[in-house]
Symmetry: C2
Subunit: 374 residues, 2 copies
C-alpha cells in the first residue's frame, strides 16, 4: 500500500507526475529559519507540531534549528516520529483506550514522551499503564482557553486534576496544555491579540493557583502559527506548538497583519502539482487534483502561477478551473501549482514530499505518519 | 508507510482501535446482491466503480456476482486492481502525460484496459504510446451529458473524435463514456429521471449519428448509484458504473424515492469508528475522528447509534459531538459508529477495511489503491 514517489531525484519540475505534493525548499527553509530566529535568545522554546508535516525528516530539521522536540496528536504519529529519530515528543492530546495506552507506555520506554489529560478517570488509566510498564509518565493538564473543544476549565478544575496527577504514583505533573485553536484564523491582528490575551490571563491564573499549592509547571505549552508572537511575549507560555508556519495555506493567507495588510510573515512553500487533463471549451479547464488530492474543508485551493485562473469546484478526482478569459494560457498537459486551502489534511493524503530547488527535484521525503490516525 | 490494521480477526467490535473504517458485511453483501439482481437477465452489464472502494477484494466480489470488470479513475488505481486480480478495467477518465501513458500501455499488455478521451491531441498521444508498446488500445469518447466537467459535446463533436480514434492505427474506437455526475444527488426522483432522460437523448442522438457513419459502440457506459435504474432501462446504455451503492453515505441518504420518502434502496454499510476522548461538560463530547478520518466536503457525518448526538464540527483530529441532552449516554472511552458524509474520499484516508459480522471482525481487507492518485 505504499505508493511510488511521483518523481525522481534530479528531475525537472515539469517532469514530476501529478498529483504530487511539492515543497519549495528555499521558501520552506526561510520559514523554518524565521520562526527559529524569532524565539532565539528568549526563554521560549519551539516544539513545532508534527501533525502538519507528519515527516520525521522535517521534525529533525526543526530540531537542528533549535526546536526542543515535536508535538503529535496521535500515538501513531508519535511512534513514527520517535522511530524517525525524534527523541522528545509531546502528545498534545488525550490518549484513551487500552490498546493506545499500552503503545504510549511502550514508546515512553524508548523516548521522552509527554501526554495530556482532561479527566480523572483517564489519569487513573494512565497511571495504571505506567505502573505496568514501570515508567514515570509526565502528564500535562489540558485547559480550555477558548477553543471550546477538549480540556478542563482553568483555575480550580485544573488544579484539582493536577493534584490528581501529582498523587498518582507512576505519573509526574508536567504542566499545562493551553492551545487556543480558534484564535489562529481570526482575521484581524487585534482579534487574535485579544483572544490570546484572554488565554494568557487564564493560564496565569491557573499557574499561580497551582504554585500556591506547590505544583510547578515544567511546560506551559500552546500557540499556533497565527498567534505565536503573542504567546511568545506572554512570559507565561514557555513552549510554542506552531506547525503550519512551515508551509502556510490559503486559509492562513487570509489573516491580516497589525497594519491591516495581508499577513505575510511566512511564505507559501507547499503546493499540489496538477495536470490539465481536459479543456472542453474556452470557459474552463479540468485538472487531475480533486477531493482525494487536496482538502477543501477550509476553502478551495488557489492556482499559484496563473492569477486569472480560478479553481472553482472539486469532485473526487477532478478540479474545475474557470479561465475567465479565453486567452488564459492553460492547455491540456500543462502542469499547475495549487496552493492548498488547508495544509494539514492535504498533507495527510500523500506518502511523499517532492522537494524542489531551482526547479529541480532535490529531495523525496517520506510522510511516515500519513494515515497514522490511531 | 503502511499503517497497521486497527483490529485483529476474531476481535469483538468494541475492541477495534479507532479511528477505523468498518464494513457491516451483511448490509454490504445485501447491497452487492441487490444491484446484481436488478440487472440480472437484462442486456445491461455492471462495471462498478472502484474509485469508491479502492480494494481488489471488493472488485472481485462484485465480479463474482456478475460484474464484467471495474471502472477506475486513475492509472494507479487500475494498476492496483489488475495486480489484485481484476482482469478487465475501464479507466473512465482522460490519461494525460508521458509517464502515465507509458504505464497505461504497459498495463494494457497485462489485462483488458479501456480508456477515455475528449481531445484529438490526446488521441494522438494514446496512439503513439500504443504503437510503442505494440498494442491495440480501445478508446471511448467521453461526452458531456450535463455534468459540465470533461467530455466533448454530444453529436458532431463526438463523431469527429470517434473518427479520429477509428483512423488511428493502434487504437480501436470502443464506444461512449456518458456519465451524468450532477444527476446523482438531485434530491427528487423526478429531477433525476429528467436529467438522465436528457442524457439518454444525447447519447441516442450520438450513437445514431455514429452508426450512420459506420461506427458502432461496443460500450455505452455511465450511471451512478443515484440514477442507475434510469440508465439501465434506457436501452441505450449497456454498462453501469455505480460505485457508492455498496456503502452509501449521508449525502446519498438525502435522496428521495419516487413517492417522496427517503430513498432506502441500499443500506449504510460503511462506518467510521471513533472513540469518545473527552467529555468536558454536559453539552458536548469530543471524538478522535476529524478531518483526517472522514471527508466533510459533502457534509458532516451522522452518529449511527445515538440518535440525539450530533457530530457538529470537525477539526484536524477531533470531532465535536453535541449531546443536546445531559442524559445522552456518551462517556469517555465509548466507541461510536459514524456514517460518513461522503464515502469515496473518506475511504481514501484508510489503508484497511475492518469487516464485521455479528459484531466480530471477520475480514481485514487492504485498500490497495488508497492514495493511488497518479
Amino acid at each position: 500500500m505504499t505508493t511510488r514517489p511521483p518523481a525522481d531525484i534530479g528531475m525537472a519540475l515539469e517532469e514530476v507526475d501529478t498529483p504530487a505534493l511539492l515543497i519549495d525548499l528555499d521558501a520552506f527553509e526561510r520559514n523554518l529559519q524565521h520562526l527559529a530566529a524569532a524565539v532565539a535568545g528568549s526563554s521560549v522554546r519551539l516544539r513545532p507540531h508534527a501533525k502538519t508535516h507528519k515527516c520525521a525528516v522535517i521534525a529533525r530539521r526543526q530540531m537542528a534549528l533549535g526546536a526542543v522536540g515535536a508535538c503529535c496528536q496521535k500515538v501513531g504519529e508519535a511512534e513514527a516520529m520517535v522511530y524517525g529519530g525524534v527523541s522528545n515528543v509531546l502528545v498534545s492530546n488525550q490518549v484513551v483506550g487500552a490498546a493506545k495506552l499500552k503503545r504510549l507506555a511502550a514508546l515512553a520506554q524508548q523516548a521522552q514522551i509527554y501526554v495530556c489529560a482532561d479527566d480523572a478517570g483517564n489519569v487513573g488509566d494512565l497511571n495504571e499503564v505506567a505502573a505496568a510498564y514501570k515508567i514515570e509518565l509526565p502528564v500535562l493538564v489540558e485547559i480550555d482557553v477558548g477553543a471550546n473543544r477538549c480540556g478542563v476549565q482553568p483555575g480550580e478544575s485544573a488544579l484539582s486534576l493536577a493534584q490528581h496527577i501529582d498523587q498518582a504514583p507512576c505519573l509526574r505533573f508536567a504542566g499545562l496544555q493551553a492551545y487556543q485553536g480558534r484564535a489562529q484564523h481570526l482575521r484581524s491582528f487585534e482579534e487574535r491579540r485579544q483572544a490570546i490575551g484572554q488565554a494568557v490571563e487564564q493560564v496565569q491564573h491557573t499557574t499561580n493557583l497551582m504554585s500556591q499549592h506547590g505544583l510547578e509547571c515544567e511546560l506551559v505549552t500552546g500557540a499556533g502559527s497565527g498567534t505565536y508572537s503573542f504567546e511568545a511575549a506572554s512570559h507565561v507560555y514557555n513552549e510554542l506548538q506552531a506547525g503550519s508556519y512551515i508551509f502556510m495555506d490559503v486559509d492562513y493567507g487570509k489573516n491580516l497583519a497589525a497594519d491591516g495588510t495581508p499577513w505575510r510573515e511566512f511564505e507559501h512553500s507547499l503546493f499540489v502539482y496538477a495536470t490539465v487533463m481536459s479543456r472542453p471549451n474556452n470557459e474552463w479547464a479540468v485538472v487531475d487534483a480533486g477531493l482525494k488530492a487536496l482538502s477543501v474543508d477550509s476553502g478551495l485551493p488557489q492556482v499559484a502561477d496563473v492569477p486569472q485562473a480560478e479553481y472553482a469546484s472539486a469532485s473526487d478526482e477532478h478540479g474545475k478551473v474557470l479561465l475567465h478569459d479565453p486567452d488564459t494560457p492553460v492547455r491540456i498537459g500543462d502542469k499547475l501549482r495549487l496552493i492548498p486551502g488547508h495544509c494539514d489534511p492535504t498533507v495527510n493524503l500523500y506518502d511523499w514530499y517532492v522537494g524542489l530547488r531551482n526547479n529541480r527535484v532535490e529531495a523525496l521525503w517520506p510522510i511516515v505518519a500519513r494515515g497514522a490516525g490511531h
